[in-house]
């Protein structure tokens, strides 16, 4: 008996020998409220990334601890603190929502840990609040609508009505479109957001209808997108006021819109830094395996989460599992030396990506499922407009 015990202890010792560290990654996302549909997609992508890595970065084991922000900044900050203090994670990532990230960033940075955003890209963190330990695996909020603005100019759209939720990212989206759009913005509505978000847009749509605009530009991510698209169709605006959106018609809303048969969506155009049809090895494997495992196309949230884990793994390998080596981690992350599903990109001085933005169109694939396809590259190697305001070199 003693021998067996000794053998077991010895084996354990071998497994967790000095050569391999256990790296704990905190991942904050939304797992409750209707927005959990996004969090679920991200969690699936994180687990798929771990599976592809066999749970390891080089010899080091990677464990991901998920935290639920409940779609609220205060809960997000609490769960971030818990991950840092109780679960003692080595690095924190995730964050769908800009207001949650803004509330949580200080806890992570004050603790001297690396913070990676898998989605949110608030302007504040790209400019005055930029930090050497913060990295974005996504984009700065303004960039995607800026690409859309360029599309409008090309298509000759003269006037726009804008609707977005009233929170950090919503305001950035509006700022982004106004930055590049050369026509006139005839009206603007910022609606209530959060766990008790406004989902009935009758009043706003009625205003948009009489505004005389050439187009309607909206930003309604997650659960709100289905609600918005439905009401837009019920209001009979399709021919009167063409719909343009960012982060609204995506891998999350498309299956639902298809189930409810909103055929008007097919053919609509959105801008994004990634697409399931992007032609690179990493992306093909990711999209194929994701579809097999979860029965639907990954969303951009999933793609960025998948990237986040691979990016962390590349940095862990670079410092050989020594998570206290912040200088080494930073330079590894900054080099973006991993196989991103969006293809090669680089980092600017504020640690936000410099990358391409594509125009995607909603199409029906060979199996009859609705998805998106790249039809044009709108911005090439685009850097966010706030980089100059960041003091980092």
């Amino acid at each position: 008996m003693k021998k067996v015990l000794a053998a077991i202890i010895f084996c354990n010792f071998l497994i967790s020998s000095v050569f391999a560290a256990d790296i704990k990654v905190g991942f904050v996302t939304t797992l409750t409220t209707p927005a959990a549909v996004i969090g679920e997609d991200m969690k699936n992508a994180v687990n798929l990334a771990l599976e592809h890595l066999n749970g390891k970065a080089g010899p080091h084991n990677i464990e991901v601890v998920f935290g639920d922000d409940g779609f609220a900044p205060d809960t997000g900050k609490q769960v971030t603190d818990r991950l840092l203090k109780q679960d003692k994670v080595d690095i924190i990532s995730g964050y769908i929502w800009s207001h949650v990230l803004l509330a949580s960033r200080k806890s992570v940075l004050d603790a001297g840990k690396i913070l990676i955003s898998s989605n949110a890209g608030p302007s504040q963190i790209a400019s005055k609040l930029c930090h050497e330990n913060f990295f974005s695996a996504s984009w700065q909020n303004d960039q995607t609508p800026m690409a859309m603005g360029e599309v409008f100019n090309k298509d000759g759209i003269k006037s726009l009505y804008i609707m977005a939720p009233n929170y950090a990212a919503g305001k950035d989206m509006v700022a982004g479109i106004e930055r590049t759009f050369k026509g006139q913005v005839v009206g603007k509505d910022l609606t209530k957001w959060g766990a008790d978000a406004q989902l009935d847009f009758s009043a706003e749509l009625a205003k948009a209808k009489v505004s005389g605009a050439n187009g309607l530009f909206v930003f309604y991510p997650g659960a709100a997108s289905g609600a918005f698209t439905k009401q837009y169709h019920q209001a009979g605006l399709k021919d009167l006021l063409p719909l343009y959106s960012v982060f609204t018609i995506d891998g999350i809303s498309l299956p639902k819109l298809q189930a409810a048969n909103f055929s008007g969506i097919v053919g609509s155009k959105v801008t994004q830094q990634w697409d399931p049809s992007l032609d690179n090895q990493a992306n093909k494997r990711f999209v194929k395996d994701f579809k097999e495992r979860f029965g639907k196309y990954p969303s951009f949230y999933a793609a960025q989460s998948y990237d986040t884990i691979n990016m962390i793994a590349s940095a862990v390998i670079a410092v050989d599992g020594d998570m206290s080596d912040l200088v080494g981690l930073r330079s590894a992350l900054k080099s973006a030396d991993y196989n991103s599903v969006r293809g090669k990109y680089s980092y600017g001085n504020n640690n936000f990506p410099i990358q391409n933005f594509y125009l995607r169109e909603v199409v029906e694939d060979s199996d009859g499922n609705w998805t998106t396809e790249v039809i044009d590259t709108v911005l090439t190697n685009h850097q966010d407009p706030y980089a100059a305001e960041c003091k980092l070199k």
Partner: protein, 307 residues
């Protein structure tokens, strides 16, 4: 001022108002007559939406789904009363709050397990999915008009039930003195269970009506329940008439605030300031109104004369 837009917005406000009334009327009946604080009332509203969504896909018809969902929701409400509310009647309000808050968590999690985190969109039949042209430049979605009609019908039906039927008489009697009614040989427990089921059904109808617009989604009940409490406090707790007036008032104030406040603010402040402050003020507007009304009428607009 564009009067067509104003008229459309009034109709939109009316639609929000009747939906609020459907939820608030059950809440006010249960609170006012049974003296029971039911935070989980919003969960019934959510269940109405989800059950109707599932049945719509199963039966391939929204109309049949609604008809079939009604008794299902009534039974759920009835069972909720027997198993959860009844043991709590004798306790104080704090225990009601705790018990029903627990029920919210349980129902939300069950809904998450059954239907998943993604909401369910309900497809409408073509004859409800279009718009109705009222005059040359006024057209509103058919379904929103249907909500107003159904909501008003339910409202008047309920007022008639409470004020002019034997059941209503018993309910009112049970509210003022339940021991006396029981002594006269009325089965007060069943009576209360029926009130509960009626309240649940009304909330369920609201859920079924809103689902084709905003989708059935987790936590949708928790959004509306706060506004519904504002409605019953403004209207006077226990008063169906008060709930009706307050619901329409709040629906109109909320909708009109969202649509015209920024234009109003632009008259005396810069465009940028107006665009920033209008959404903040309009989301506060109903609470401002509640504070104003309560400062003049602390018991609400129509406090019931019951003891």
């Amino acid at each position: 001022m564009d009067y067509t837009l104003l008229l459309i917005q009034v109709l939109n406000g009316l639609q929000l108002g009747v939906l609020l009334f459907l939820v608030a009327s059950g809440l006010t009946l249960i609170f006012g007559i049974l003296d029971f604080v039911n935070l989980a009332h919003g969960s019934i509203y959510m269940l109405g939406a989800f059950i109707c969504a599932s049945l719509t896909y199963a039966l391939d018809s929204y109309l049949f789904a609604v008809i079939l969902s009604l008794p299902v929701i009534a039974i759920i409400g009835y069972a909720f009363e027997i198993f959860l509310a009844r043991p709590l009647y004798a306790r104080d309000h704090l225990d009601h709050v705790l018990g029903t808050f627990g029920a919210i968590l349980v129902i939300d999690t069950i809904a998450h397990l059954i239907w998943g985190p993604a909401g369910i969109a309900i497809p409408l039949p073509n004859y409800l999915d279009g718009q109705i042209t009222i005059s040359e430049n006024i057209e509103i979605p058919t379904f929103r008009l249907l909500i107003i009609v159904v909501g008003l019908t339910a409202a008047f039906g309920l007022l008639w039930l409470v004020n002019f039927t034997k059941l209503g008489m018993l309910i009112r009697a049970g509210a003022s003195n339940r021991t006396m009614v029981a002594a006269l040989g009325i089965d007060i427990r069943t009576l209360f269970a029926i009130v509960f089921a009626i309240g649940a059904t009304l909330a369920g109808i609201a859920g079924m009506l809103i689902a084709p617009i905003t989708e059935a989604s987790l936590g949708m009940g928790n959004n509306i329940i706060i506004t519904a409490f504002v409605v019953i406090i403004v209207g006077g707790i226990g008063s169906v008439k008060g709930a009706f007036v307050a619901a329409l008032l709040i629906g109109l104030i909320d909708t009109l605030g969202r649509s015209f406040l920024d234009d109003l603010f632009k008259l005396f402040m810069s465009t940028g300031a107006a665009e920033n402050s209008a959404p903040a003020i309009s989301s506060m507007s109903i609470y401002l109104m509640m504070a104003l009304i309560l400062s003049f009428k602390p018991k609400g607009l129509f406090p019931p004369r019951l003891g």
